[in-house]
Symmetry: C2
Subunit: 202 residues, 2 copies
DNA sequence: ACCTCAATCTGAGCACTGTATAGATACCAA
DNA sequence: TTGGTATCTATACAGTGCTCAGATTGAGGT
């Protein structure tokens, strides 16, 4: 009845979003390396060749999932309410960034895999900068804002992104001898932020 | 004649290291995603099933390449001579780290891919900590060394590692609007390091 | 109501991939 | 010389992404 019926026989009716959802689910369950276009098609109850028409290639489908991922990251970051203390905001944003990476490792990894995502898709850079806009604003609002805010943003992003990656890749666990990720982001991370950024102090 | 002959017919004589070299070469040419166990076997002039005996699986072979990678990273970092200014040393080490990542992106990416490398191999953590020992020492030597040096190391490593990853994944190019990597590491990076670390000042 | 047309999906096929296993080969030690 | 064993080959299996001719269907125009 609906214009986007669940499944009406030969024509799926909602294949595109069904495939995106299936891909996202696979990545959630098995990680990026466990993804396959064929299994996404299988889960959507459709033949092997069907996805090609909507996405061109596996990269096309994964690009859509990555866009969802940036949206999801944006949700995490937007949940940080803006205060009159930009340094605090920055710290909370950082925690949210790492929390997202730990909660959605598959999405997070996909979002930064240039071989799996079409970086030339204009929506990609748009989604990326939109998700990070909170960081950019907090940096702009902080006391004694530097002249080169792009460099500041990149510096902050590097620290946070590096932490997230090292934790996900098991390097933190190795350095701190098996501290579990949750305790890590709650207790160790804030201390690291103090250490890593001059801004952390005020 | 040599115990490790070049190629003596049925028995290769030097297959293990030949396969490692072939894999490293493939990764150099086509990146991690371009690697295949079969092509490594082909380049070594050997049948498809031969590598299994030496490495068990593709992961086993890639683990050896990753170990080489850590050795190579160690070479970059060890080329930084120790001075009486730990802050300068730290900065130079950071530049060397990023320089390695840009010069050997395939190796660098492989080294941090838990799905492609056997993290349980004791040589892996050994190679990792050996390569990073320069960082650890510089941090230990700096004036006003903190109580939690592991956290300091992790903080520094995060910043540098994040920068390297963001640059490799094309995020820096996007932020700085197409600055080429060389200019980036020469001009922009030092400024970022100043920003990222309190230690940078002395 | 019909009828064309384009969008959608199927099914088979191609060229790959990693892994497992049975058997051939050749070195090495007794 | 003779086992024995490490090494390597050949083949097969299950899986992958992608392509393309053809079947199917819903929608828009007459």
């Amino acid at each position: 009845m609906n214009a986007k019926a669940e499944k009406s026989g030969y024509h799926h009716g909602n294949l595109k979003s069904a495939l995106i959802a299936a891909a996202d689910a696979i990545i959630l369950e098995k990680g990026i390396e466990g993804f396959s276009l064929r299994e996404a098609a299988r889960r959507a109850g459709v033949s092997i060749g069907a996805p090609a028409h909507h996405f061109g290639s596996a990269k096309g489908l994964l690009t859509e999932v990555a866009l969802l991922g940036y949206g999801s990251l944006g949700d995490y970051l937007n949940a940080v309410t803006e205060s009159d203390d930009p340094a605090r905001d920055l710290r909370e944003l950082a925690r949210a960034y790492v929390a997202f990476a730990l909660a959605h490792p598959g999405r997070f990894r996909l979002m930064f895999r240039p071989d799996l995502v079409d970086r030339d898709d204009p929506r990609y850079s748009a989604a990326s900068s939109k998700a990070l806009s909170g960081f950019a604003q907090a940096i702009g609002r902080r006391a004694g804002a530097g002249e080169d805010r792009m460099a500041d943003l990149f510096s902050v992003w590097s620290s946070i992104h590096g932490m997230a990656n090292l934790i996900l890749d098991g390097k933190a666990k190795y350095l701190f001898d098996g501290a579990d990720p949750q305790r890590f982001s709650d207790e160790i991370l804030p201390g690291l932020l103090e250490r890593a950024w001059p801004y952390g102090k005020g």
